[in-house]
């Protein structure tokens, strides 16, 4: 008990908010999850500063240095056009993070809207929304994404919108469940009985109480979205080609070159796996700390 307490003094400022409390608990109780979070933050920083960190421009071609194996100048080798793989992986991290955060944020908003409408209003609204969610979730995520992309065409805004919608609708079930449990609490009934308006109750009573669920939902969605975007890019339906996405760098169309430069098949997949792994264990740890009831959900 005393040893973890010795670590905290450096971080304990005079007034500790709920956020730094959570961080402290994460490091103390879930070191593995904290490590996952740190790895994720490292990738996030790589993404943010990708343009500064990248030693070469990601789309600079150089015929003279095609298929260079990893070296000091090209830490991850070069591809069939002589582009530096390391720089491309860094910019790929940036794109993954943009898609991950934007789509996960959108997904969370969609989940809140649907989940709150369905869970708080109940009745026929709930019935209709839930059957629609059922129907939507019947379709395999990837198949749905392929079909929608074939309609709206590939591109960053489309990808973010459709991934956000996809995961938002799926996640609305979880939000609905927690809204229903909060709605039945005494303080909600009390607020209703003194005549508080619906919006007021939602803002002051429901939303703050489902916050832990939303945080966990958002975190796990970031990983899922990054993986989905990579899958789409792999199939040639993600961001259009010159963009160095991790999925696109592994795409089937470039496999012929991987036989000549096997290193091309390694870095993007490894980054993808490490990021998703890190987000998963970080999300699991957050969930255990914030809302143990969600255990088993993904």
């Amino acid at each position: 008990m005393t040893s973890p307490a010795q670590k905290t003094p450096e971080r304990s400022e005079p007034s500790r908010g709920p956020f730094s409390d959570l961080v402290a608990r994460l490091f103390r109780e879930k070191p593995l999850g904290a490590a996952g979070g740190m790895v994720f933050v490292a990738f996030l920083l790589c993404g943010v500063f990708a343009n500064v960190l990248a030693p070469h421009a990601e789309n600079d071609t150089n015929i003279l240095s095609r298929f260079q194996p990893p070296s000091l100048e090209f830490p991850m080798g070069t591809d069939h056009l002589g582009r530096d793989v390391f720089s491309r992986v860094l910019i790929g991290a940036q794109l993954s993070m943009i898609v991950g955060f934007a789509a996960a944020a959108l997904a969370t908003i969609v989940s809140i809207i649907l989940g709150v409408l369905s869970g708080y209003l109940g009745g026929w609204v709930d019935m209709v929304i839930q059957r629609m969610v059922d129907a939507w979730m019947t379709f395999p995520g990837l198949v749905l994404l392929i079909v929608v992309i074939s309609i709206v065409g590939p591109g960053l805004p489309q990808i973010v919108a459709i991934l956000g919608l996809q995961y938002g609708i799926a996640g609305s079930r979880i939000v609905r469940g927690s809204v229903i449990s909060v709605r039945e609490n005494m303080y909600t009934h009390a607020a209703q009985s003194i005549g508080a308006g619906t919006l007021h109750i939602l803002r002051k009573h429901i939303l703050p109480n489902i916050m832990p669920v939303l945080i966990v939902l958002f975190t796990t969605r970031v990983g899922a979205v990054i993986l989905s975007e990579a899958g789409l890019s792999f199939l040639g339906l993600g961001l259009p080609p010159p963009q160095p996405t991790w999925g696109g760098m592994l795409a089937g169309s470039g496999r012929a070159y991987m036989y000549m430069g096997p290193w091309l098949a390694l870095a993007p997949g490894l980054c993808l796996t490490v990021v998703v792994f890190a987000v998963n264990i970080f999300g699991d740890a957050l969930r255990d700390l914030l809302d143990p009831r969600m255990r088993g959900l993904r």
Binding site: A135, W136, T138, P140, I146, I151, G231, F234, R255, V274
Partner: protein
């Protein structure tokens, strides 16, 4: 049991309705004009009356009429014709569905034969080194994208040993051995990624069941450990695992799309991708609908199998 089945079937109706709306919208939201597309792709001369083509397709009718006409046709098994091959979509589906079904079935067999014994082992040896290895493995498998594993399997054996997985499809009933040789690698890859979740679930369920009183009673009566697990614990532990298989059906189909693309397996996943790149929209929406209904059907079977596995469900 009959009323249970009837209730399940009734609950399916609203979902089916919304599924049909989603598929119908996906057809109507197609960019550009289907008529233009058909006219250009079938080399219909521009002089031909456009309105005639529209009328032939029923596009001059109000949306609601179009919907019911489409629904009626779909119910009779008419999903339209491919814009490129001019064959019926249903014919193409009939040729391709069994291929995906085979891949899915083999993957499921791989997933279950890997996941259930290892999950049980992990639960029996809770918090030992073996348990940690199993749990880390399943966490890593959850994070590794299937398409990367597939790419690695295609590239590295070829570079190191001059060996590459077969990508030459032969139907099972013509040359079963050759067919299985082709399907085995993708089925193992897909099965392994599916096994991660099942493994975790089996472990959790076994841990929970093994702590129950009736297990202690059986043990006190002197029931052997193997019989205890297989006959007493596993049946109760299996119920959530069956649900999980149902929930994984969409994942399985999504994974099949990827594996079919990498290993050039002519199933419905590859059919969908080809159709998307050729802008063959009747085929896209045909596959879309069949996949949706397929998943609904799998979930129904899973629901019904509860009743069989767990007598409590039938009466509740």
């Amino acid at each position: 049991m009959q009323s249970y089945i009837a209730r399940r079937l009734l609950a399916l109706i609203p979902t089916l309705f919304f599924v049909s709306i989603i598929v119908f919208c996906s057809i109507r939201l197609i960019p550009g004009d289907v008529v233009d597309l058909m006219m250009s792709q079938n080399d219909i001369s521009t002089g031909q009356d456009r309105a005639k083509v529209e009328a032939a397709l029923g596009l001059d009718q109000p949306m609601i009429v179009q919907y019911f006409r489409w629904l009626g046709n779909a119910c009779r098994g008419d999903l339209g014709r491919s814009l490129w091959r001019n064959t019926k979509v249903t014919e193409q589906l009939a040729a391709r569905l069994p291929v995906t079904f085979e891949l899915g079935f083999l993957s499921l067999v791989v997933a279950l034969t890997v996941a259930i014994p290892i999950g049980i082992y992990s639960a029996m040896r809770q918090d030992t080194l073996g348990d940690y290895v199993v749990r880390s493995f399943s966490l890593v498998m959850l994070a590794i994208p299937g398409f990367w594993l597939g790419t690695l399997v295609m590239v590295f054996p070829a570079v190191w040993w001059r060996w590459a997985p077969d990508i030459d499809y032969t139907p099972f009933f013509e040359m079963p051995i050759k067919n299985l040789k082709h399907m085995l690698v993708p089925a193992i890859l897909l099965g392994l990624s599916l096994s991660a979740v099942t493994m975790r679930m089996t472990r959790t369920m076994m841990l929970e069941v093994m702590r129950q009183d009736y297990i202690r009673t059986a043990r006190a009566k002197g029931v052997g450990e193997i019989r205890l697990v297989l006959q007493h614990a596993l049946r109760n532990g299996l119920i959530p695992i069956v649900t999980l298989i149902g929930l994984q059906a969409p994942m399985l189909i999504g994974g099949a799309v990827i594996m079919e693309q990498i290993f050039v397996i002519p199933g419905i996943g590859l059919m969908l991708l080809e159709a998307v790149f050729q802008r063959d929209y009747p085929v896209v929406s045909g596959v879309f609908m069949v996949v949706g209904i397929g998943v609904l059907f799998i979930n129904l079977v899973v629901d019904l199998s509860y009743g069989w596995l767990d007598p409590k469900v039938r009466t509740s």
